[in-house]
């Protein structure tokens, strides 16, 4: 181990993060009060917005955890530079656990399977009886407990071992990280699949698609990557990020973004093509609902602006290497992630294209609280673990950086 290239205290997040934290907190509290009041008057509308918002912010938190685990398995400078950003996003999982609780009480406004007696269609009623061992409020809560227990445990261990690398005597945890990350990614894939079925797909309990959980999964990873790009851009104005962020890393981040966008498009297109070609009444209903009544415009917008436009932009090498330009696409993609979830969920409730006040206000309220918590997490640890043996690649001055 050579002498430390950077002192840990110089690697802390800039003080501005604290300022952001306060501002987000104030905005979040004010917005929350407003939406909660709104929620008392229109609980049905409120919870629709709440679910979409919850899935969107949960995606950033969980996606960050996955990318973090991927980095532990593969190494590489691209991951070291955003490691602590993603760690801070991952450590919002406890907050998301709290945010899940209202959904338990709101389930009866969202999921028709909570009240099978009120279903008029005899086929659906019979089907709900058959799957009642799975689609019941009790099962819903118990499974959520398992998911959150696993996610919190993974986040706790990854954070604990990461913290140990900040203060001497430093122990090398890279092997432990590796041992946890392999099974961790599998656990994530398993839990998020069933969470996607429970929380979003079961909004229409008569419809199913085997690739659907993977569309949610890849969306989360994409959200998390875009979020990391936005944060690294904000931090790039200040030390230490201004000296550490090299174009090669930004280039890699752009490539990952392109990859995840393509995978999202690949999964989404596969689902559409197979269901469209099969044209079975119980399956095509999903798309009929989402291409009629104005929803078709949202679908076209997804094709153009969640895939085509970012795909073409990201083919450009200079674009991928320039953080000041890439960041705008990342911001845009975070918005499109929301539009995708909105299109998937909201179309269940309304046959015609509708945006309610809750669809806009709740994500903002929840987002501000989430971001305040994120900022708190971000300033609690140095942006790069100075003692980590793999950190030297990132911490070396640019001119000595060879190959």
């Amino acid at each position: 181990m050579s002498a430390l290239l950077w002192k840990p205290e110089d690697l802390l997040a800039p003080p501005i993060v604290k300022v952001y934290q306060r501002r987000f907190l104030i905005a979040g509290v004010v917005a929350s009060v407003i939406v909660i009041i709104g929620g008392f008057f229109q609980p049905r509308v409120f919870f629709r917005g709440y679910l979409i918002s919850f899935m969107d912010w949960l995606g950033v938190a969980l996606g960050s955890m996955v990318i973090l685990m991927l980095r532990h398995l593969t190494k590489g400078g691209w991951g070291m530079i955003i490691r602590r950003i993603q760690g801070a996003a991952m450590r919002t999982i406890p907050l998301m656990t709290v945010f899940f609780i209202p959904l338990i009480f709101g389930a009866r406004y969202l999921y028709i399977w909570t009240q099978p007696d009120k279903v008029s269609d005899p086929h659906l009623r019979k089907h709900l009886e058959e799957v009642s061992s799975y689609l019941s409020l009790k099962g819903f809560v118990l499974r959520a407990l398992v998911y959150f227990a696993i996610w919190n445990l993974l986040s706790y261990l990854l954070t604990k071992w990461s913290k140990e690398q900040d203060t001497p005597p430093v122990r090398d945890n890279s092997q432990r990280f590796k041992v946890l990350s392999g099974p961790g990614i599998i656990l994530y894939g398993f839990t998020i699949s069933f969470a996607a079925i429970d929380w979003v797909m079961s909004l229409d309990p008569s419809w199913f698609s085997t690739i659907y959980p993977l569309i949610i999964l890849i969306g989360e990873v994409l959200s998390a990557f875009c979020f990391a790009i936005v944060v690294e851009r904000v931090l790039f104005n200040y030390r230490p990020m201004s000296e550490l962020l090299k174009p090669e890393y930004v280039h890699d981040h752009g490539k990952f973004m392109l990859t995840f966008i393509m995978v999202w498009a690949y999964f989404s297109f596969s689902q559409w093509l197979i269901i469209w070609a099969g044209d079975l009444p119980e399956e095509i209903s999903f798309y009929l609902r989402r291409i009629n009544g104005g929803w078709g415009w949202v679908a076209i917008a997804l094709v153009l602006f969640h895939f085509a436009m970012p795909f073409i932009l990201l083919l450009s090498r200079p674009f991928k290497r320039d953080i000041t330009r890439l960041v705008w696409l990342a911001v845009w993609m975070l918005f499109m992630r929301y539009v995708d979830l909105f299109w998937l969920a909201e179309a269940n409730f309304s046959e015609t294209f509708t945006v309610t006040w809750a669809d806009i206000a709740v994500p903002i309220a929840m987002g501000c609280l989430w971001l305040a918590y994120f900022c708190r997490n971000l300033s609690s640890m140095p942006l790069v673990p100075a003692y980590d043996s793999f950190a030297s690649e990132v911490l070396e001055p640019a001119h000595e950086h060879s190959v």
Partner: protein
């Protein structure tokens, strides 16, 4: 903190540009052809002759010599086609995707993985023509004019399209949206199994352990473990949705796989593709050539069974009970299938004998000398 567990090298130390070149080229240029080679090639060639015989008889008599009939109109030909195409995919992955990911360990296995792809695709390519019944009309297979504008996006990925061939139909067990990524993962899974089954004996017989090191075995085993888990995910989610979806035909398909006349093969498939490969979590087995060779063989059998289950068990009992039936492959089916394995191996033997099986240039880039100082 200094004791990082250093991974095994991608090339053993002590080599120079010259020795790398000599070592690889000597196999082709200076070393005499061994008796083992003649024996191996001879056997593979004889089996290839069997293939030609089976094909000749097929053209004379027609597809009636095979076990296909209604309801199972797609039998071994499609099973083998998908299996071989899948194996070919590892070459694509090693050659292109690992290059993009800057995985330098691919350099020593790249060349023969590409060769393997070529031969596997040749084996796969025979079957669409053979199963036509009237092979002299094979040109009818060429894409007819663009219907509903689906052609351009379809050319994007080979195995995805193979999966669409199944999934856009309505047969239970075929019509499921997970098919595209699940087929691609399965393809890479079997492809890496084939790479290992070839690499392990080759490195031993030609003394290439310094180039195809423990690291290569370990990494390939990890890729197999990961893709195998994706395949397992596919089985799992398909079974769950069979129950959850409430479609009685999907539910019956699951029942038929577990309890129907071919259930033995389904359990074997679960054992070969999901059960046994889990031992790859153990590092000692990932780096043991002997065990890895055996496990790769198991995976290849498992992946062949998977295609058999998908093709045959789905068709055998679909919507109408009155048109249920059984499928039994005939000796001609077996002869054709085994014949393609012989053809594949014969091509591999020739490749090993006449071409440098490892790219000399790419191996040299791994040497310390190749690093350019700024």
């Amino acid at each position: 903190m200094d004791e990082q567990p250093t991974p095994a090298p991608v090339i053993e130390p002590g080599y120079t540009f010259g020795t790398v070149t000599d070592k690889i080229s000597s196999i082709v240029l200076t070393r005499p052809t061994s008796n083992g080679w003649f024996l191996g090639f001879g056997v593979a060639f004889l089996v290839t002759m069997g293939l030609l015989y089976a094909i000749g008889y097929l053209f004379l008599k027609g597809v009636g010599i095979w076990g296909v009939n209604i309801p199972v109109g797609w039998g071994f030909a499609i099973v083998n086609f998908v299996w071989w195409i899948g194996i070919g995919h590892a070459g694509t992955l090693i050659s292109a995707i690992l290059l993009l990911l800057r995985q330098s360990w691919r350099n020593s296995i790249n060349r023969f993985a590409e060769a393997m792809t070529l031969f596997a695709v040749a084996c796969a390519g025979m079957f669409p023509v053979l199963h036509l019944g009237r092979p002299w009309l094979a040109y009818w297979l060429f894409p007819y004019p663009n219907t509903m504008n689906v052609w351009p996006p379809l050319v994007l990925s080979v195995h995805t399209v193979v999966s669409f061939d199944f999934a856009i139909g309505q047969v239970p067990g075929w019509h499921t949206t997970i098919f595209p990524p699940y087929f691609v993962a399965g393809a890479i899974y079997s492809g890496f199994a084939m790479v290992l089954m070839l690499a392990i004996p080759i490195r031993k017989f030609y003394g290439l352990e310094d180039f195809i090191t423990e690291r290569h075995l370990n990494n390939s085993a990890k890729v197999m473990l990961a893709t195998g888990l994706i395949v397992a995910y596919g089985y799992g989610i398909e079974a769950f949705m069979g129950w959850y979806g409430g479609n009685r035909y999907d539910a019956f398909l699951l029942w038929n796989r577990l309890h129907g006349p071919y259930s033995f093969f389904y359990y074997m498939l679960l054992l070969c593709n999901i059960g046994i490969p889990q031992v790859l979590w153990i590092k000692r087995l990932r780096t043991s050539p002997f065990w890895l060779f055996l496990i790769s063989g198991v995976v290849l059998v498992g992946m062949w069974l998977e295609r058999f289950i998908i093709v045959v068990v789905s068709l055998q009992r679909d919507f109408l009970t009155s048109s249920w039936g059984m499928y039994y492959p005939t000796r001609w089916d077996w002869m054709t299938f085994i014949g393609t394995i012989g053809f594949f191996l014969a091509c591999m033997f020739l490749f090993l004998r006449v071409l440098p099986m490892i790219s000399i240039f790419e191996m040299r880039t791994l040497l310390p000398e190749a690093e350019v100082k700024e």
